[in-house]
Amino acid sequence: MRLAWRLSGVVGIFFLFLHQACAERLVLSLSNDRVQIASNFVGENLVMFGAIEPDTGNNLRQGGYDLVVTVTGPRETMRTRRKQRVLGIWVNVDSREFVRVPSYLAVLSNRPVRQIADVGTLRRLQLGLDNFLLTQRIGPDIADTVRDDPFRVAFIRLQSRHGLYREAGDAVKFLTPAVFRAETPLPANVPTGVFTINVKLFAAGALVAETNASLEVIKTGVEQYVAEAAVAHGLIYGIATMLLALLTGWIANVAFRRD
């Protein structure tokens, strides 16, 4: 009897949440859900369009909305190393492994994330580069560190310098109160694989709706052929490349032969 009472309570709370989540619906459309890397690829702008649909019978909220779009690239393990002067020369003395962290990470919003929600909410939802979970291997443990950990700061700085990590508080624009547009550049060195896009809708600092989408970055044409051959048929690829080298050398020799 007591169990049933407790269960009904849980279900009740669940429905309460469900009701809240259903108050608005988010619709998202990508300019391109398959980014193709061909021989002329120099990077591409990823453009997303979306709309906020109020639940039937309801109107859009008076207070307005905030949006946070997080684009996450395929996960990779990377090592951050620190140099120090030892006996007059600069040597890598210390390193930290970042385990399965996004190879690409863009946090886009209509205004800086810290103005959208309180720190606790941002941390819990991993919104913003400071709050995103970047797991590090520290001795036998795998955990994230404090946000001002020097390795974490350096990692984000280096990734940002290569255009792979970014946080832009002005990358989401409202075209009408219910229609928005978000944009982020995918640099030329963008990693290949599946990217996930998560859009969170906030009203008055609280999460009210959420939606996900994905896109694929793939190599096509010659790039795909070469990249696949190099991995799948290493020996044949190697011998073919070597023969290509010999052929080039031979052609040059014959073409420029003077004797």
Binding site: V42, T77, M78, R79, I89, W90, S95, N189, L246, G249
Partner: protein, 307 residues
């Protein structure tokens, strides 16, 4: 014109890479070396990852050394027996180098060891060549016969046992220094991403007294075999050979090499060695600078592997 490189995973300017191939090819043709010690740092400077640069440069050197070796082969200026002897020890050197490469990479000290090796080898070889060629130049000024072309004097290396006769080069030397040189070249090639021509040529001249007639041809054949096998080995083990990048480099390289060889033939041997010595020494200094001066960012990222 930009082109995306499928293995290096980045776009590059075709004309820039072609120009680099031409310039390094010119130098390699002029001095009869592969030019890996110039090309590998250049590619890294342009943004290619060191691992891809090392692997791809081996393909480029295979092409340019084959083009050059054919010329020397026709002129019967290749000592096959000497090349094979050097190669037999070179394979052991390469295997040792590849093993150490992997160990050091795991310890994050590969950059340091490569840097220190570049600095010590290049500056030592460069200084030695500058010293030798200036001495020869002064001797020529005084009207004395050039000693370096065919030094008859024997050094202590000629007293070692296991003597072998290399007919084409007209030398009679112990197998021990030949194997030693072969080992060093194989080792340096694996760990530094260089063909080793700039090390091999002076070592053959100064230590083994190989005559200038066969030294470059023999060095080129050795470079060709090691770099052709390095291409296949890198492709099989690490999948890091970028065929597109290699092709652009090769086309520039072989053309540049032809002009370089033409220029080189019109210069005196001593002058040529002095220039090469200065060039090698400068590249060594550049690496020393990198080790000593505080880097722009003390932190760097290395990809451990896709997961």
């Amino acid at each position: 014109m930009q082109i995306y490189l499928p293995i290096a995973d980045m776009p590059v300017n075709v004309f820039l890479i072609l120009g680099m191939g031409l310039a390094v090819g010119f130098i390699s043709g002029m001095f009869g070396i592969g030019g890996g010690f110039l090309m590998t740092p250049l590619l890294i400077f342009v943004g290619v990852s060191p691992a891809v640069a090392v692997a791809t440069v081996s393909t480029h050197i295979a092409a340019s050394s084959f083009s050059g070796a054919l010329n020397y082969w026709r002129r019967r200026a290749v000592d096959v027996a000497l090349a094979l002897m050097l190669l037999s020890a070179g394979i052991i050197g390469t295997a040792t180098g590849v093993w150490l490469f992997t160990e050091l990479r795991a310890l994050d000290q590969l950059d340091l060891v490569i840097g220190v090796l570049y600095v010590s080898l290049l500056s030592a070889v460069g200084l030695f060549m500058i010293y030798e060629s200036i001495k020869a130049e002064l001797r020529a000024r005084k009207g004395l016969p050039s000693l370096l072309r065919r030094p008859g004097s024997h050094n202590w290396l000629h007293g070692l046992p296991l003597k072998l006769r290399f007919k084409r080069s007209k030398i009679y030397v112990s197998a021990i220094p030949v194997w030693g040189i072969g080992f060093v070249i194989g080792f340096a090639g694996a760990i530094m991403g260089i063909g080793g021509g700039f090390l091999l040529v002076p070592m053959l001249i100064y230590f083994l007294r190989v005559p200038t007639g066969t030294v470059i041809g023999t060095s080129m054949v050795l470079t060709l075999i090691t770099m052709a096998s390095a291409t296949v080995m890198h492709a099989v083990t690490n999948h890091l050979v970028d065929a597109i990048l290699a092709l652009i480099l090769m086309v520039g390289g072989v053309i540049g090499a032809q002009f370089g060889a033409h220029t080189g033939q019109r210069m005196r041997g001593e002058r040529l060695r002095l220039l090469l010595g200065i060039l090698v020494f400068l590249v060594g200094l550049r690496f020393a600078f990198e080790l000593v001066v505080q880097p722009e960012d003390l932190y760097s990222i290395r990809h451990v592997g896709d997961m």
